[in-house]
Subunit: 319 residues, 2 copies
């Protein structure tokens, strides 16, 4: 996919007006209005086709302040769904401050309800967790995010949590899972993950049919003011390497990413993992569902607490 | 994997003599003799671990004249197996002439039996087939190769055909199959493919644990004179793109290729495709096994014959 080529004036495949965006993997081009319609239809198709949620169900939308999650919240609102935003303040310095500001401005301008959780106030700002435990930032962050998504959904009665994962996110994750043949992660990778426990919310990804480029174009055309910076912890993450490699394949063979992800969901996944998922029990600490006696999040908090107790005297000694 | 770094003098992990080769994905380094021993052991492990063939069974070794197939023939001979070479003269100009010369010289110097099939004499030199049918060269070539492997094995009583596919070949093929989620090809990709029909030979890949780099080092250290040029038809083939992309991943994360292929064979494949293979029937034309009434090879010959009849009058008209 690319912007329109200079000197070449493609027309919208729908209305024949001048096109503003070309989508090579779909062999098509659109003007502004038809692209926005196309985008909405792809989201509607994802929601209906995968039975993600109905118009009656309240949807908790996880919003980071980036283009994907704000585009998601915007389009769900336009499509007439009942949405509430959930912003997690991760405690990653200036990046988190900016993310919060953009998210709050988006909600305020549109009069949309926004819930927030502050990792710092909860005692596990990601910057501290990484410094104390030496865990990979993305792994610790993911554990904490999943915990709060489920907790807030349960406490506020949301049956479903929607995240802004796009086609590129799904393709990168799928490539990583496939390179390791991680059968558990492969079995759980889905555009809609039905709750395996009464305290789990349904997790859905309404943007899974749309590429990162398409969500960026959507955010631009809808004049959404989002955080452009990548999370500083993401630099060097394997997800970025996978995206890079997939982009290389996509450039040579347009449609590769789409086929890889959609065929996995359409045929491979169901054929491969029918009924393979194990139901979780309950974490003895926080009471949320877990595959282990103490869930990953509570284990993370334990590790942070232990390090804090161990680290302080050392810091005093050295000063 | 790379050659040893200048200024840095690594030692053989086995005997502590100066190393001549470093294998990053194995976190090891070897001198000449220990590398050759390592290589032989990896091949023996593949043969025994996958029950490819016994020392009593005559093995037909498909030899192109490239490093992989000649390294395979060489190591099987050293390990004491009963081998006969089969060289297919593909009819791809100077490349095929050189390939044949190198293969014949290898067999002659070692006093090894060599069978040959000439695609030109059989009426389907690849250069002609591609020119006439406009089929992708690698696809037409693969169809013809598989046919003659099975035919020669059957006519000469070989229960098993060994090919020189290495870890990089397997990784590239697996990546292509996974990107398309081609369940039939995935189900059939294996280091040992048991014959699904009495007229099929067992197909085995004794080098599947060894990388392209390792077979190149082996061929160099064993002073094997092989064709260095790639097949001219392979330029731009998707296999090369896949290899390139996998090399990029391997450079950042050593061991990726090995894990990708070996984990697929060890766990994923058996878990995913238990008993999924359909047994073939018989081609009504050539009598060899086929999943269709007329096999792919006979269909290819039909297409070549039809084009020859159609093309000649046109060529006469224009002259």
């Amino acid at each position: 996919m690319s912007a329109t080529r200079p000197g070449h004036k493609p027309k919208c495949k729908r209305c024949r007006n001048p096109a503003v965006v070309q989508l090579h993997s779909h062999h098509t081009a659109f003007c502004r209005d038809c692209f926005l319609l196309y985008f909405q239809r792809q989201v509607q198709r994802a929601i209906d086709g995968e039975r993600m949620f109905s118009r009656e169900e309240p949807v908790l939308v996880a919003v980071s302040g980036g283009k994907d999650s704000l585009a998601l919240w915007d389009v769900l609102q336009l499509l007439g769904y009942r949405t509430t935003g959930l912003h997690l303040n991760l405690g990653i310095g200036a990046y988190s401050v900016l993310s919060r500001t953009k998210t709050e401005a988006f909600a305020r301008e549109r009069g949309l309800p926004l819930l927030q959780v502050d990792f710092g106030a909860e005692g596990h700002a990601i910057a501290d967790v990484v410094g104390l435990t030496r865990r990979p930032a993305c792994s610790a962050c993911g554990t904490a995010k999943r915990h709060h998504f489920d907790r807030i959904a349960m406490e506020h009665g949301f049956p479903v949590v929607a995240t802004g994962h796009n086609l590129d996110d799904e393709a990168a994750r799928l490539l990583g899972n496939v390179l390791r043949w991680d059968m558990n992660y492969l079995a759980r990778q889905s555009p809609v993950l039905a709750p395996s426990h009464e305290k789990f919310a349904r997790k859905v990804k309404p943007l899974f049919r749309l590429s990162e480029y398409e969500t960026a174009v959507y955010a631009f055309l809808r004049r959404i003011d989002y955080v452009i910076e990548e999370c500083p912890n993401a630099a060097g993450a394997s997800q970025l390497l996978y995206k890079d490699v997939l982009q290389r394949l996509e450039a040579e063979m347009p449609g590769t990413k789409q086929n890889f992800v959609l065929e996995f969901y359409r045929r491979a996944r169901s054929q491969l993992f029918a009924g393979n998922l194990e139901a979780p029990t309950t974490c003895s600490r926080c009471g949320l569902p877990s595959h282990r006696p103490v869930c990953r999040f509570c284990s993370l908090l334990d590790e942070v607490a232990a390090k804090r107790q161990g680290v302080r005297p050392l810091a005093q000694t050295s000063s």
